[in-house]
């Protein structure tokens, strides 16, 4: 009896030390998301409470309907989806091509390119805004989705190229060489052999690129004039400008823009977070 109790309490202790802190930390990191959701369910215009409210009384889902009446959010949603999808696909293409190319360079050229990529990674984008704006205006793409998708041409972020490069470096080069000796072109090797071996990198870069294009606020703010081209982040800004302290509506729109990101994260997170668990 005594021994059993002792074992039980030592188990609890182990559980506490191993799980208590992680649970607390997880709870802490979930709070912003929870508060966003709970505030979005409040009836707008009602006198604010002076006590902490975990779940609003009474509850309403009406805010999710009214935001679509105030702004053409459906249109913005489609635009965001188009920009993000195109941006992600192009990014996967250019970044994996570049990463594969880099892994096939000689050691000196590779080091140089590596250093270049890391330096590029260090340049804050705000240092390029104005010049890119002037440049895109001359190109005639400033009021179009292409201005938002343009970064995909360079793989969006040098980090993505490096992720592919590190992946391809781990693969035995003999695999690629035999295929090429059999007469396959380098593009074929990349498509048929290299890419299937780089699934985790594809998933990780796909997820990060998704966040980049889905979250992008500055580029649409700078480039888009026509309202029918707007993406969701600019829609949120519009909503805020119309009534900057209408929290229920603002939070409902925030939930709306967060949900697709959450869905993508839920689908692809294993590649980024769980690779060592299985």
């Amino acid at each position: 009896m005594k021994i059993k109790l002792l074992r039980w309490s030592s188990l609890t202790l182990r559980f506490l030390s191993g799980h208590l802190l992680p649970i607390l930390i997880s709870g802490l990191f979930l709070l912003p998301l929870f508060w966003m959701l709970s505030a979005s369910l409040r009836i707008p215009g009602t006198p604010p409470t002076r006590t902490l409210e975990w779940v609003p009384q009474p509850l309403t889902f009406g805010n999710y309907v009214s935001i679509f009446h105030i702004l053409p959010l459906g249109r913005y949603l489609l635009n965001s989806a188009f920009v993000t999808l195109t941006g992600v696909l192009l990014t996967l293409l250019t970044a994996s091509l570049a990463g594969f190319g880099m892994s096939r360079l000689g050691p000196r050229a590779r080091l140089r390119l590596l250093i270049l990529s890391i330096i590029l990674q260090m340049i804050p984008v705000s240092a390029l805004w104005l010049a890119r704006f002037v440049f895109f205006a001359r190109l005639g793409i400033s009021n179009s989705h292409w201005a938002l998708i343009a970064p995909a041409l360079m793989g969006t972020s040098p980090l993505f190229i490096l992720l592919f490069y590190w992946t391809f470096r781990r693969i035995d080069p003999a695999i690629f060489e035999t295929a090429q000796l059999d007469g396959a072109s380098v593009i074929k090797v990349w498509w048929h052999i290299a890419l299937p071996l780089a699934r985790p990198a594809l998933m990780a870069v796909g997820m990060l690129a998704f966040f980049f294009y889905w979250n992008d606020f500055i580029n649409p703010l700078l480039y888009l004039r026509s309202q029918n081209l707007y993406t969701l982040p600019v829609g949120l800004l519009q909503l805020q400008e119309m009534d900057k302290t209408n929290w229920p509506l603002l939070m409902a729109a925030s939930v709306l823009i967060t949900l697709p990101a959450l869905a993508v994260f839920a689908t692809l997170q294993r590649a980024v977070l769980w690779w060592d668990v299985e």
Binding site: M102, I123, S126, A127, I257
Partner: protein, 290 residues
């Protein structure tokens, strides 16, 4: 290496190199040229020497913006790094439920920036926001956060501490690369956990930590734009007026693209210095091994 395989590698790299040329190198050149002009965006730019730099030297707001950005970086970068390291150490060991904990810690990073800024404007709402209710219940002081000039910048640092998912994942990868045998032999030698941390984990993790902090510095120069634009518009009394916001305002509010570009050059120079610093700290970057 044969010239044909070299040509093939270059073919594969060409979109990336072309994109870099068009989107980074050419804009950098235009920025450099514009910095020495007076340009209102409509009439052609006029060369005006170093006048933009002299203007910035005179204009107190420029100093305010630069100081705010540096203040933000010096507070946010170390704290974010510590947070990411703490998470990585805590959630490193594979065990039941670990995936859930890791996902939870990563979640705030998933929230799009504009929504994140709006959510924190609500959380930090001085009267009705949930944070101040909790602080009041705990008997702690309840500052006015974004409305109080003394707290506004700190508030933005504070909210940035929840978006550390990327650093956390990178450090998790770093921890994976430390050979287990090192810990085993240390245990045989009777070294305690703390000793192991300071003599094995930290030294072997340091290249990752330093790389991460440099990346975070560059990101932090940039990431203040959305919160400042959405939450405070640079206020109250310029307490959250950061360099990216100033570049944007100079160009598109005040039609001074020249000074905007000059400010751009300064941001360039500062980050370049930081990068070079990193370059001399690690000769070969230690990145080509794995």
């Amino acid at each position: 290496m044969t010239s044909s395989s070299r040509r093939q590698a270059l073919l594969l790299l060409s979109p990336y190199l072309l994109g870099t040329l068009l989107l980074v190198i050419l804009p950098a050149g235009i920025s450099f040229a514009l910095a020495f002009t007076r340009y209102n965006g409509v009439t052609p730019p006029v060369f005006n020497g170093a006048q933009n730099f002299q203007y910035m030297w005179r204009e107190p707001l420029f100093r305010v913006a630069l100081i705010n950005s540096v203040l933000f970086i010096t507070q946010a970068v170390p704290l974010r790094l510590l947070g990411a390291l703490g998470l990585a150490l805590l959630l490193n060991r594979a065990r039941r439920g670990i995936g859930v904990y890791r996902a939870a810690a990563y979640l705030p990073t998933v929230i799009p920036d504009v929504a994140y800024a709006l959510v924190w404007t609500w959380i930090l709402n001085p009267l009705y926001g949930p944070l101040n209710f909790i602080l009041a219940a705990l008997g702690l002081p309840t500052p006015a956060w974004l409305t109080d000039p003394a707290w506004a910048l700190r508030s933005i640092v504070f909210m940035s501490l929840f978006q550390i998912g990327e650093g956390f994942v990178i450090l998790l990868a770093g921890l994976r690369h430390i050979p287990r045998e090192l810990y085993e032999s240390a245990q045989i030698d009777g070294a305690g956990r703390l000793h192991q941390f300071f003599h094995i984990t930290l030294p072997l993790l340091s290249p990752w930590l330093i790389l991460l902090s440099i990346r975070d510095i560059a990101v932090s120069f940039q990431s203040t734009f959305t919160p400042a634009y959405i939450m405070t518009r640079g206020g109250p009394y310029y307490a959250t007026f950061f360099t990216p916001l100033m570049i944007y305002e100079e160009a598109f509010n005040n039609l001074r693209f020249g000074t905007g570009a000059a400010l751009t050059l300064i941001v360039f120079a500062v980050t370049l210095c930081l990068t070079l610093l990193a370059y001399f700290a690690f000769d070969d970057w230690g990145l080509d091994e794995n």
